[in-house]
Symmetry: C2
Subunit: 206 residues, 2 copies
DNA sequence: GAGTATTAGCTAATGGCATTAGCAAAAGCT
DNA sequence: AGCTTTTGCTAATGCCATTAGCTAATACTC
C-alpha cells in the first residue's frame, strides 16, 4: 500500500494544519492569549496530551501561526502590488490589501503585530518574512521617489517610519474601536485609500 | 481612637492601591495577560484567597487599572494642552504628552488601547473617561480650524479619525518594534512633534 | 469597659490548565 | 511474520482562579 512515498508524513501535516485551524477558531472566540490546548484537543476529538505529538508546546502553536500569518500577509501585499510598477499606485494597492487581510484575519494580525501573548516571542525563522515585508514597502516608496511622485526624503528613515505608521494607525484604531466593521465601511480603514495622498502631501515632490 | 472618621476604609484603600501597584509590576514582567492573582498575593505577603477581600475577581483588578489609566492619560493630555489656546500648538503638546505617558506606562497603555486580555471588557464607569479623551482632541482640532490653522474638513469625521490614527500609528509601531527606546529617541515616537505639521499639510487652511 | 458586628486573614477544596511519563494499539516497513 | 515508528491513551504533577467556612482582630455601641 506504499502508493505514496510518505503517507504518514502527509497525514501528520494534515493534522498539524487542522490543529492550527482549530487554534485560530479558539483564539477568535477567546482572544489571542486565550488559546487553550485542552479546548483545541476537545474540538479535534482527542485527549489533550495527544496534541503534544504534533506540537511540543502551546508556544510552538503560536510560532507556527505566526509564521503562517507572516507568509500570508506578505503574499497579500506583494500580490496587490504586482500589477503596478513600483510607485504610489502600487503602494496604495498594497496598503489596501494589507488592511483587508488584517481585518479578515484579526487574530493572526494581533499575534503578528501586537504580541499580546506573555512569554511568546517568535523564533527567528518565523520572524524572517517580517523583514521581507519591510523591504517590500521600502521598495515601493523608493519607486515612488524615482517616478517623481514623492520627495526623496520619503525614502529616508523618517519617511519609511511614517509610511509604516500611517497604515498601522488606521488599522489599530479600527481593530480597537470597530472590529466588526468591513474594511471599506470602517470609520478608520475606509481612509486607507487616502494614505498615498497623505504621504504625497507630507512629502511633495521637490 | 476614632481620630479619623473611617480608619479602616483608609487602610483598605491603601491596600487596594498597593495591590494595583504590584499588579502593574507583574504585568510589566509577564505581559498584560500574564497577571496572576497568586503572584500578586505572594508579593503582598498574603495568601491568594485574601486578595478577594479587596477585589472580587482578577477582572476587577483589570477594571480598576483600566480606570486609573484612563484618568492618568486624560490628565496628562489635558495638562499639556492647558498653557496653550486650543489649536495646533495645543494639539502638538497633547500628542507629545500622550506619547510620553504611553511609553512610560506601557502595560497600562496596552490595557487601555489594545485589550489584550481575553474575557476582559471595561465596565461603563471605567470606560467613561475615554469619551472625554476623544472630546479633548476633537476640541483642540476645532480650535485649530477656528484659528485658521486647519481646513474645516479636519474637524469632520474623517479628519478626527485621521488625527487619532496618526498618533496611534506612531505609538503602536514604537511599542511593537522598539519598546525600550525613550520617547524622544525612538524611531517612531520621535516623529510625534511633526504630527501637527502632517495634519496641516493634509488639511491646509483653504 | 463589655458586648456585638464587621473585617481581614487563614486553610481546605474544586475544577481548570499545560505539560510529562509511561503504556498499548495501530500503521508502515523488511 | 516480525520489527520499528507513530499515535493515541490514562495517570500524575504542579500551577492557576475562585469559593466556602472558620478564626482572630478590629472598630463601633451602649
Amino acid at each position: 500500500m506504499a502508493d505514496i512515498p510518505d503517507r504518514r508524513a502527509r497525514r501528520r501535516a494534515e493534522t498539524q494544519d487542522e490543529i492550527l485551524g482549530l487554534a485560530l477558531g479558539v483564539m477568535a472566540e477567546e482572544g489571542v492569549a486565550g488559546l487553550s490546548m485542552s479546548t483545541v484537543a476537545r474540538r479535534l476529538g482527542v485527549q489533550p496530551p495527544s496534541l503534544y505529538r504534533y506540537f511540543p508546546s502551546r508556544t510552538a502553536v503560536y510560532d507556527a501561526l505566526f509564521e503562517r500569518g507572516q507568509r500570508q500577509y506578505l503574499d497579500a501585499v506583494r500580490r496587490a502590488a504586482e500589477p503596478h510598477p513600483p510607485g504610489l499606485r502600487a503602494l496604495g494597492a498594497s496598503y489596501e490589501a494589507g488592511a483587508q487581510w488584517i481585518m479578515d484575519n484579526q487574530v493572526l494580525a494581533q499575534l503578528l503585530f501586537w504580541r499580546p501573548v506573555p512569554g511568546f516571542a517568535p523564533s527567528p525563522q518565523a520572524y524572517a518574512p517580517a523583514l521581507d515585508i519591510h523591504a517590500h514597502f521600502a521598495g515601493l516608496i523608493r519607486g515612488a521617489v524615482e517616478r517623481g511622485e514623492l520627495h526623496p526624503d520619503a525614502a529616508g528613515d523618517d519617511g519609511l517610519a511614517l509610511a509604516a505608521s500611517l497604515i498601522a494607525g488606521l488599522v489599530s484604531q479600527q481593530l480597537a474601536n470597530e472590529p466588526d466593521a468591513g474594511c471599506t465601511e470602517g470609520r478608520y480603514t475606509r481612509l486607507v485609500p487616502r494614505l498615498p495622498g497623505v504621504l504625497a502631501s507630507v512629502y511633495p515632490p521637490s
